[in-house]
């Protein structure tokens, strides 16, 4: 069926050839095709006529110009026509009488719409620029075509005379273009600097602004200037422009002063560095009282970047009146357009002006700028706490958040001295409506050192109140409680002693631990000091065992410092410091074993870390995608490490515990699956690995300890081993980027599978599995040859066995026992991921086929089924087979 065109249009499209013949495939499909091609191919005759109109006259009439543009923008214009257009335009371009701007715009459109012609257009423009007759006014436009990275255009961008002639051309627009694009030109730095410096005196504010931006740009582009007087010259010139009448010039001047000021400070000898740094600080302080909001923001941004400032100047920023220490001091710089000495009192009230500002942008920037100086001076830091507390009252979340971040920064450097009067403010922030604010406040509290027990107590009470009001913050609050507890261990002991009654089970023997308050106190208790060596605890040890009942919730909060298992081990160990123990619920031997390893493990650590858990010091930033990726990776790594610890349990046949643990890990990992693609491969790998361990455990328990009650009856083991085999080969083939070690690990597990099957005396497919075993052995040997690997007793033994037996006649008789012996040597080793794993995946979806409206088909005729296939991580070399088989539903 062809598209029918109404009679009205039939004249226009008299020789129109429809591009698509559309079969009746369903209405949706048809529409899609039609709309995907809004441009129709102009008839060839028309093309020729349009092109011909262009050719004659070098000055294109508006009509012919539009005709060319329509040809260019129509994607169906034939290549030959386009080539003709390029050539014609090129000819016109070289004609000194033509309208160059117009032709250049057309060429620009041409290279935008047809990237394959870009090279030809580039060459034409290049030639045009080099023509002596080319008017200077057309040059910037022409230059904008060329890519400075392109080797053919390089000569133009490194041509100093061209550059200078354009810069000094009388057209202001050209000059502005040149200055804005100054970084594209490969000039000698001395030429660039001279030109930029000169234009800072231009009468046009836009040129001055562009020149200043250029000065900043060339520094950022890595131009190295080492001449101190030249750097000083640029710095002072920029400083003069801080007093420009134009707002935008002042804005750029602030940035230029900041950048060149840093360089200037760095180039000065060490003994005068400090003075110059102070001078830069004061110079920028002047701009915080500018009337333009953006200048003020820029000034505070720049102030925050100054790494060293004298303490007396910082203290001056807190007071409006001149301090005795700064009263008489002057520094080089611009104070007003006329005065070239800045008194140190110019810093007066600088930060406070910013914090009082009407615009939140300025307040936020001023808050941020406080971060660096508060680190420099404890006394200054003390002075700013009050005002930052006031900022916590700000109307805008952004400003409050920034104020909290600054406080947090101060706290991490130990410069946050919280007085009792401040606590009230702090605690009111803890019940803020905004979750981000609450979280930032808790982060600040974590690092805050409180002087008195009363302050600590009210802090804990308020955190618990926070917990009661916002149960969704639980994990974060637990972490905060733990951290603040670690920081104030003596206070923790006192508080826990006070409330220990509350933590005891009630008289009727029930543990009333569902109260959030109790949970919070348990977390606090965990941070209490214990001595592992002497097996003493500073708080009643039974509290540790009570805490075990809330293990899941607590470990969720402490996930950043400890994983659930270690925490459990720690808690049970601490609780064993007395005679009572909650280990009755477990089989004695099992726990003994479990602890033996972890006990040693903890012993190693107890020497270095007083808190038992590795405490990460330094500020924790808010979670970023990268961080969650790292988190996923480290989580997977920890699990792989822990899997090894499970092996003895499997050997003992405690599959219930093992399965439970594995399940919890699986849940843990599953939470990452929605994250980034980078980790997706690893996460899927880990999930599959855990599954295999479960299967292996079950099979092992079945064949060696015969304790697994769930697996009974014939064929259960075969079934398990079959599943394992399939999973393992899937793991082997569906990942890209697996290292030799990983591959060996999987192969070893495969060997275990086959060995188990063979040793179990499954005679039905003896031949088949011997073959499989041998082929895997060969692959292992191949991998062994590639380089040294960590030996595994089991594999070595198995290799020996296979060599010994060879093709002997009675191998079917000897083999099971030999294999059984070698299997006994097997122990699970840790699998170490060496890098990124990519999971090959394909999704197939038959479109338009649903239950109510299946695809139409006529029996006996071929049927077209549209498929949507999504491929992940498939490289082009991989061949993909699509097998369709016909099944019978009955």
């Amino acid at each position: 069926m062809c598209i029918s065109v109404g009679p009205k249009y039939s004249v226009l499209f008299y020789n129109f050839r429809p591009k698509y013949k559309i079969k009746e495939l369903g209405p949706k499909f048809k529409i899609a095709k039609v709309t995907s091609s809004p441009h129709q191919r102009p008839p060839l005759l028309m093309e020729q006529r349009l092109v011909a109109a262009v050719g004659r006259n070098p000055n294109l009439s508006p009509k012919s110009s539009v005709a060319v543009l329509s040809l260019i923008t129509n994607p169906c214009t034939s290549d030959s026509t386009l080539t003709t257009i390029v050539e014609t335009l090129n000819l016109h371009l070289q004609n000194p009488n033509s309208n160059h701007q117009q032709i250049l715009s057309l060429l620009s459109a041409l290279s935008d719409y047809h990237p394959r012609l870009r090279h030809r257009v580039g060459a034409a423009v290049h030639a045009f620029i080099l023509l002596p007759s080319t008017p200077t006014s057309a040059l910037p436009h022409a230059l904008s075509f060329l890519n400075p990275a392109d080797s053919t255009a390089l000569d133009l961008f490194s041509d100093e005379s061209l550059f200078l002639s354009l810069c000094f051309y009388e057209c202001v627009k050209t000059r502005k273009w040149m200055l804005r694009n100054v970084s594209k030109f490969r000039m000698r730095p001395s030429v660039l600097l001279t030109v930029l410096l000169g234009f800072t005196k231009d009468p046009y504010p836009y040129i001055r602004e562009a020149a200043l931006d250029g000065l900043v740009m060339i520094l950022n582009d890595g131009v190295v200037v080492e001449d101190r007087s030249l750097v000083g010259g640029c710095y002072f010139r920029a400083a003069e422009l801080l007093f420009d009448a134009d707002n935008s010039v002042r804005r750029s001047a602030v940035r230029a002063v900041s950048e060149w000021g840093h360089l200037h400070v760095a180039l000065n000898p060490d003994e005068s560095k400090r003075d110059w740094s102070d001078a830069l600080f004061l110079q920028l302080c002047l701009m915080v009282r500018d009337m333009d909001m953006e200048v003020r923001v820029a000034a505070f941004n720049a102030l925050g970047k100054i790494p060293t400032v004298s303490e007396n100047i910082l203290l001056q920023t807190l007071s409006k009146k001149a301090l005795p220490s700064t009263k008489e001091k002057v520094y080089p710089g611009r104070y007003t357009a006329k005065l070239s000495k800045i008194p140190a009192t110019a810093a007066a009230f600088a930060f406070l002006h910013g914090l009082e500002d009407e615009f939140f942008q300025v307040r936020r920037s001023a808050c941020r700028a406080l971060q660096t100086p508060t680190v420099l001076s404890a006394e200054f830091s003390c002075g700013t706490v009050d005002i930052l507390m006031d900022m916590l009252n700000d109307d805008l979340v952004m400003v409050r958040l920034q104020a909290l971040e600054t406080l947090h920064h101060m706290a991490t450097y130990g410069h946050l001295n919280v007085a009792e009067s401040h606590l009230h403010m702090f605690f009111s922030v803890l019940i803020d409506n905004d979750a981000l604010i609450r979280s930032a406040m808790r982060k600040t509290l974590q690092y805050t050192k409180l002087q008195k027990l009363a302050m600590f107590r009210s802090c804990i009470e308020n955190l618990i109140k926070n917990l009661e009001l916002y149960p969704e913050d639980e994990a974060d609050i637990f972490y905060a409680l733990y951290r603040i507890g670690c920081l104030h261990r003596k206070f923790v002991v006192k508080i826990i002693q006070e409330v220990s009654q509350e933590l005891e089970p009630s008289f009727d023997g029930k543990l009333g631990f569902n109260k959030v308050r109790t949970a919070g106190l348990f977390v606090l208790a965990i941070s209490a000091p214990v001595s592992l060596e002497r097996k003493t605890s500073s708080i009643p040890p039974q509290i540790f065992s009570y805490a075990v009942t809330l293990l899941g919730r607590i470990s969720c909060g402490l996930v950043e410092v400890v994983d659930e298992n270690t925490l459990l081990t720690y808690l049970s160990q601490c609780s064993r410091f007395t005679f009572t123990s909650t280990s009755e619920n477990f089989e004695g031997g099992l726990l003994d074993f479990g602890l033996k390893y972890n006990h040693n493990h903890l012993h190693e650590k107890s020497n270095e870390v007083s808190s038992l858990f590795p405490v990460t010091m330094g500020p924790k930033k808010f979670t970023t995608p990268l961080e969650s990726q790292v988190k996923a990776m480290s989580c997977v790594e920890i699990i792989f490490q822990k899997v090894v610890d499970l092996w003895p349990l499997i050997q003992l046949g405690c599959m219930n515990e093992v399965t439970r643990t594995l399940r919890s890990w699986k849940e843990g990992i599953s939470s990452f699956t929605r994250d980034t693609h980078q980790t997706a491969g690893v996460v899927v790998f880990a999930l599959k690995y855990i599954h295999i361990i479960k299967l292996l455990g079950n099979a092992w328990a079945y064949s060696f300890t015969k304790t697994n009650l769930q697996l009974k009856g014939m064929g259960a083991l075969e079934n398990l081993l079959g599943k394992m085999e399939r999973r393992l080969s899937e793991m082997l083939y569906r990942y890209v980027g697996m290292s030799r070690n990983e591959e060996l690990h999987i192969l070893e597990l495969m060997l275990v599978t086959y060995a188990m099957r063979l040793s179990h005396g499954d005679t039905s497919c003896f031949e088949e599995y011997t073959k499989k075993l041998n082929s895997v052995i060969r692959s292992v040997e191949c991998l062994h040859k590639e380089g040294p690997v960590e030996g595994s007793h089991f594999v070595t033994e198995l290799l020996n066995v296979s060599h010994e037996i060879g093709d002997s006649e009675d191998k079917a008789v000897d083999m099971p026992d030999l294999l059984l012996n070698s299997l006994k040597l097997f122990s699970l080793k840790r699998i170490v991921l060496s890098g990124e794993l990519k999971y090959l995946d394909a999704e197939l979806d038959a479109c338009g086929n649903d239950f109510q409206k299946p695809l139409p088909f006529v029996p006996g005729l071929p049927v077209g089924i549209p498929f949507e296939i999504t491929l992940r991580n498939m490289s082009s070399e991989i061949k993909l087979w699509l097998a369709i088989s016909v099944g019978h539903p009955e």
Binding site: C167, F243, R289, M291, T336, K338, D390
Partner: protein, 615 residues
């Protein structure tokens, strides 16, 4: 040409602001205020100094009012309706809206309460306001062909503006009252960096340095909270416009945050009417109010209710806003009488109280005390007093910051107290190196200003202006761009030319100024060298000079030596009057640019002792 500045009011005092400025022939009156401290003729500025004939309309180009406070606008109806000024008057839209309210309120108080003679009537106010042209912020108004004025935001009160006036190249800014720190309901003053000859600024707090506004707010809230928490009543006497709204916003916000349920009352009347105006004139308020008003108009106070007289002695805590601010009478006095004797109550006082008012007495009193209202009535004051430090005026730092930002050539201080103004003047002169004065009332100050001439420009000059021609001096990296400055102005038929055109324009030839000097080098008296010997002595000299000046060359077939433009040759004229026997004479010439070089070479030549041994 000079700017003539006649201070008719607010010179070395606060009250009746009025400054008449003559600038390039135009006369502008800034503000037309009345002094609240006087009831005789001194309450008005001395208008007769403007014009002897009393024809103010032709004597003044325009009148500009900065804001609606009576000390800035109070005399306006008198000036227009009684004195007969009929020319243009400019003020901002909010000022135009609020000024009649203020004037009418004042008239009523004067006539109805104090029984004074009416200075101007209700009709006068209405007629006066009809003559007013309202302007917007940053709108340039061409008063006439030469005079431009522009308003800038000043903070202070709703609608307050600083005014920029420019005639030709002479320009000035009259600040009126302004605030450099934003408060809750108004923003900070905002002005462009302008080329100014003169800034006339207020100096109410010429030597005061105020603490951060957060500290002030904290103290106020703490005092109020403490009082209501212990069951007391808080009386906040305020002016109807400005502080009332500011404090109300502060309290409303605090009530909201801390969930306080204590009622806040507004005494009816002017204040409620004023609140209406604030709600409408959102674009003149602070950035925060502007940003949030789409969601919630900050002047829709959630916790504020209007007050009823019967509530004065109702039990329980409350907060009450009442006018007037200095407890000089009216409702605030009525409530004060009832509440002052109880210690749990609190009365706040504004930062500034006129002498004679109860507010002023309380400021210096020690509680508990007795205050005499009149002969018969005494009030026992046992309540707490909290002095507010909120002020809509900038402090000394703000004044300095504004002057530093504007960097005018001259500053005149008005609207302040004399000794403090003196201190501020010293500071401006020493710290910013800007001339400053603070004339008394009815004094005239002359300030030199830019002379303004209109001149044409030649094409060549315009052309040369387009092309950048900067120079950079290597040692200091000083940059000069002489593009615009490098022209020549002819004063007859004023026109600017480029340097190259000068000869054609003036129709003269090019002359070069050269210096000449006769320099002699002595030789032994018993020796008279021949011409050739003299020439070889010149050779010798060349050797000496070229040692110090390597770019030195021999010219004219070995007869002269040249260094730069400096040329030295043997004096050949026998009749030369300065010639004597025992010296060799040289004629030296050089152009003005090489003067220093020339004298160095000459001293070199003079120190040479020639003898025959050399030849």
């Amino acid at each position: 040409m000079a700017i003539e500045c006649l201070v008719l009011g607010a010179g070395q005092e606060v009250g009746k602001s009025c400054v008449v400025v003559t600038i390039n022939g135009k006369r502008i009156m800034f503000d037309c205020g009345m002094h609240m401290g006087y009831t005789d003729h001194r309450r008005y500025p001395e208008f007769s100094l403007i014009s002897d004939s009393g024809d103010f309309t032709s004597a003044l180009s325009c009148v500009i009012i900065t804001h609606f406070h009576l000390d800035h606008i109070g005399a306006l109806p008198y000036f227009t309706q009684v004195c007969g000024y009929n020319g243009p008057i400019y003020m901002t839209y909010p000022t135009k809206a609020l000024a009649p309210l203020m004037l009418e309120d004042y008239r009523k108080v004067m006539v109805d309460r104090r029984g004074e003679e009416e200075q101007f009537s209700c009709e006068h106010i209405a007629e006066c306001m009809k003559k007013v042209t309202a302007v917007d912020l940053k709108q340039t108004v061409h008063v006439d062909k030469d005079l431009q004025i522009r308003a800038y935001y000043a903070g202070h009160v709703l609608g307050a503006a600083m005014f920029y006036a420019k005639v030709g190249d002479a320009a000035l800014v009259y600040t009126g009252d302004y605030n450099m720190v934003p408060d809750r309901h108004l923003g900070a003053a905002q002005i462009d960096r302008l080329q100014l000859d003169l800034v006339i600024t207020e100096s109410t707090y010429a030597t005061t340095y105020r603490d951060s506004k957060y500290v002030r707010e904290r103290e106020f809230l703490k005092a109020v909270h403490k009082c209501v928490a212990s069951g007391g009543k808080v009386l906040i006497p305020t002016f109807a416009l400005g502080r009332a709204q500011e404090l109300c916003m502060l309290l409303d916000d605090y009530w909201e945050r801390t969930n306080l349920k204590v009622p806040i009352y507004f005494s009816a009347g002017l204040t409620i009417q004023a609140n209406l105006y604030y709600k409408i004139l959102i674009s003149w308020t602070s950035q925060k109010v502007k940003d949030t008003h789409a969601r919630h108009n900050a002047f829709d106070f959630k916790n504020v209710i209007s007050f009823d007289r019967s509530l004065i002695n109702a039990p329980g805590p409350c907060v009450l806003f009442a006018t007037p601010g200095m407890i000089s009478g009216g409702f605030s006095l009525e409530v004060f009488k009832q509440w002052a004797p109880y210690e749990e109550n609190l009365v706040t006082l504004p930062g500034y109280c006129l002498a004679g008012t109860i507010g002023h007495k309380l400021m210096s009193a020690k509680i508990p005390t007795q205050i005499k209202l009149d002969e018969d009535v005494k009030i026992d004051v046992r309540c707490q007093i909290h002095q507010l430090s909120f002020s809509p005026h900038t402090d000394a730092k703000g004044i300095m910051d504004l002057i530093k930002f504007l960097s005018p050539k001259h500053v005149i201080l008005v609207h302040g107290e004399k000794p403090k103004m003196g201190a501020l003047r010293e500071k401006i002169q020493s710290e910013l190196a800007i001339e400053c004065c603070y004339p008394a009332n009815n004094e005239t100050v002359l300030i030199p200003s830019t002379h303004h001439i209109e001149a044409g420009a030649s094409d060549a000059f315009l052309q040369s202006c387009l092309v950048p021609q900067f120079q950079i001096f290597e040692n200091q990296c000083w940059v000069y761009d002489d593009r615009v400055a490098q022209g020549i102005l002819t004063l007859q038929n004023p026109r600017v030319f480029s340097q190259n055109e000068l000869r054609d324009v003036l129709g003269v030839e090019n002359h070069q100024v050269k210096f000449a000097h006769c320099c002699s080098a002595a030789y032994d008296s018993d020796w008279s060298p021949s011409i050739s010997q003299k020439n070889s002595l010149l050779q010798l000299l060349f050797g000496i000079v070229s040692r110090d000046f390597p770019d030195c060359i021999m010219l004219d077939s070995q007869k002269s030596i040249q260094v730069g433009s400096f040329v030295v040759s043997l004096c050949s004229r026998e009749e030369c009057p300065s010639s004597n026997e025992d010296a060799l004479h040289f004629c030296c010439t050089w152009s003005a640019t090489d003067e220093e070089l020339a004298w160095t070479v000459i001293s070199l030549v003079k120190n040479v002792k020639l003898s025959r041994d050399f030849t």
